[in-house]
Amino acid sequence: MAEKHLVRIEGEDVTLELDRANGATLVRREGAGAWKNVDLEQVGHSGLYVLMVDSRPTEIYLERRRGGAIVTIGRHTFDCDVGPWRPAAARSQKAAVATGRAEVYAPMTGSVVEVRCAEGDVVQAGQVLLVIESMKMNNEIRSPASGTVETAPVVPGQRIKQGDLLVAIQRAGGG
């Protein structure tokens, strides 16, 4: 008897059926055609795994985490939640968060070269807000939204870490 599991990947819920037959592990998307013969095996002690799907091998990099796994295939990384299957109606829907504030965080560690906006400035989406140097390259950081600069707490020369708040913008027409 096949078990049902729920996998959430990139915000999408997928129901997978899992079964075993003659020592083989079989998987299919619920209601989506043929069973696939699958096999996952770790290579040595690294995060490298070989995933066999109907005898087609793919190298993946996999890290377990509570309630799921982070899977890298090719250049793409997928963060997957895995849990027992429940009827769709019972699943909690991720509330869509609408906010009038757009925040720009440092995409990498480096230092601030130039700040081209100040509190109260009206900026357009796509406009360069500041320039950050990292790995000897200047990188222009652009505004994700049109609106008014609420705060711009960095100054030229300042060292910044990835994830630091650089600019916050109150969206035009937003609440």
């Binding site: 078990e3 599991h5 996998v7 990947i9 990139e10 997928v14 997978l16 899992l18 592990t25 998987v27 998307r29 696939k36 699958v38 096999d39 996952l40 095996e41 770790q42 290579v43 040595g44 002690h45 690294s46 995060g47 490298l48 795994y49 070989v50 995933l51 799907v53 087609r56 091998p57 793919t58 190298e59 993946i60 990099y61 996999l62 890290e63 377990r64 309630g67 799921g68 796994a69 899977v71 890298t72 295939i73 090719g74 250049r75 793409h76 997928f78 997957c80 895995v82 995409p107 990498m108 560690t109 480096g110 070269v113 990292s134 790995m135 000897k136 390259m137 200047n138 990188n139 990835q162």
Partner: protein, 527 residues
């Protein structure tokens, strides 16, 4: 020639008793290897964050030289010279970047009784000044693009640019490595561009001076490798084409160039050696030219160091430029002349950098948890990657150089495609997908390339991820529900720890990886 080379080698061995490598990353490792080939002990130096680097681990001796910030370590010439003296080194190899084109450093080496493995301080000084270099080239009879003298204010610069006619290039007089270079299309954008270039030049080179040069459309970047000994023998070692550039940073280089005929090659080689001879140049150097589609060429600049892209020349001419530059620095006579050098086949190099092509090429820093380099027929990889390496914002973003050799250009291209598909880098984003796209473009395949090529071929959006997503779902399901096959090694999960245990496990992982890698041909796109 070959005989005298051998006998000199015997007589002088060991020519240097120890060589300090004033660099890091792949080029430091490349130099460690050349020294090992010559049985010369190597002395690596490293900043705090590079303690576990391959160039440190593979060297005979390694010394710390300071904090991560290059100004306090790899650019700290006094410190490096004192380490060399204290450790009994008698020569310094600067690699490229950092102190490689710093005439004061070269001079300080000489004053300290150390051999600087590179040209004389005078050659570096003259050719490092782009205006002086242009004058030297002109005096040697080479065609030079119309240009201004050195300018240190925006008003004068604008006057020159207006007179010359747009488009123009604004360049840092003290520049190098593509930094402080800007193309300006019209008078309207000139002032802000010139101001920015001066700002960048001041920040990067400590000198805001710029000059203006006429900019040409649809030109190829062709450069000639030269090498000279201390007895006046100078030889050209073929050309390279480096037209595939993004923001003036070379991305793909090849040797030879599809645009260079035997006649043109002779002409370029003669021009390059004339420039070198006129400044009594010795050691390796590169004379850069712009080549128009009518076959006209102009001197651009001369780089007084080993180039990043030297492997393509080595692959197609069978030379070992790093070894040879050490030999000529030690006073050995040049082991070959141009007639003896036969270019064989075709070599293409791709620079793998930690930049995300799908996110405005932002630098990507972090820990590379898994790095597997390509191999196989015709593939050479220069890299210093290892599992667990931390990519920091302190140094440039070059991770590795992959060079593919083939009997012809297409043979090299297809091998490069295979190599890029085999390359695995997990943990930071790389430009590999973009390189794969470029290699598949019709204009690239046909060799219709110029320095504006990448401006016309932006990154194509990603193909849909349906297949990868489905595989990820299955893998996550099997891992979380404990349905994966029990490993023979009894392994389960835990990994990624830094330090000794990680080194040990990565070694085991490599061993078992090679044992199971036979069936892994299928890989839609590289990691």
């Amino acid at each position: 020639m070959l005989l005298s080379y051998r006998s000199t080698l015997e007589k002088h061995r060991p020519m240097f008793s120890k060589v300090l490598i004033a660099n890091r990353g792949e080029i430091a490792l490349r130099i460690v290897r050349a020294l090992r080939d010559l049985s010369i002990p190597s002395l690596a130096v490293y900043s705090d964050v590079d303690r576990l680097s391959q160039h440190v681990r593979y060297a005979d001796e390694a010394r710390p030289i300071g904090p991560a910030d290059a100004r306090e370590s790899y650019l700290n010439g006094d410190r490096i010279i004192s380490v060399a003296k204290a450790c009994g080194a008698d020569a310094i190899h600067p690699g490229y970047g950092f102190l490689a084109e710093n005439a004061d450093f070269a001079e300080a080496c000489v004053d300290a009784g150390l051999t600087f493995i590179g040209p004389s301080p005078d050659s570096i000084r003259q050719l490092g000044d782009k205006i002086v270099a242009r004058n030297i080239a002109r005096a040697a009879g080479l065609p030079v693009l119309p240009g201004s003298p050195v300018i240190d204010n925006v008003d004068d610069a604008a006057r020159f640019a207006d007179d010359m006619g747009y488009p123009v290039m604004v360049k840092a007089a003290a520049g190098g490595g593509g930094r402080g270079i800007r193309r300006v299309e019209s008078a309207a954008e000139f002032r802000s561009a010139a101001a920015q270039a001066m700002h960048e030049a001041q920040a990067a080179f400590g000198n805001p001076a710029i000059f203006i040069e006429k900019s040409l459309d649809r030109v190829r970047h062709i450069e000639v490798q030269i090498i000279g000994d201390k007895y006046g023998n100078i030889t050209a070692v073929g050309e390279r084409e480096c037209s595939i550039q993004r923001r003036h940073q070379k991305l793909i280089e090849e040797c030879p160039s599809i645009a260079v005929t035997p006649d043109l090659r002779r002409s370029l080689s003669r021009a390059a050696t004339r420039v070198a001879r006129s400044v009594n140049y010795h050691n390796v150097g590169t004379v850069e030219f712009l080549l128009t589609n009518t076959g006209e060429y102009f001197f651009l600049e001369m780089n007084t160091r080993l180039q990043v892209e030297h492997p393509v020349t080595e692959m197609s001419t069978g030379t070992d430029l790093v070894k040879d530059q050490i030999l000529v620095a030690a006073g050995v006579e040049l082991p070959y002349d141009e007639v003896e050098l036969l270019s064989r086949g075709w070599a293409i190099e791709c620079r793998i950098v930690a930049e995300d092509p799908f996110n405005s090429f932002l630098p990507s820093v972090g820990r590379i948890v898994l790095a597997r380099e390509p191999a196989g027929p015709g593939i050479r990889v220069e890299s210093a990657l290892y599992d667990g390496i931390e990519i920091t914002p302190y140094y440039d973003s070059l991770l590795a150089k992959v060079t593919a050799w083939g009997r012809n250009r297409e043979g090299a291209r297809t091998r490069m495609k295979r190599a890029l598909a085999e390359f695995r880098v997990v943990g930071v984003a790389t430009n590999i997908p973009y390189l794969q796209q470029i290699l598949d473009l019709d204009d690239f395949i046909d060799g219709r390339i110029d320095t504006g090529f990448l401006d016309r071929h932006e990154v194509a959006p990603l193909e849909p991820l349906t297949e990868q997503k489905e595989l990820a779902e299955i893998a996550a399901l099997l891992a979380v529900t404990g349905k994966e096959r029990a490993s023979d090694h009894g392994a389960n999960g835990a990994n990624g720890a830094a330090g000794l245990s990680a080194l040990g496990s990565s070694w085991r992982a490599q061993m078992s990886g090679s044992a199971t890698s036979r069936g892994m041909g299928r890989w839609p796109k590289s990691i």
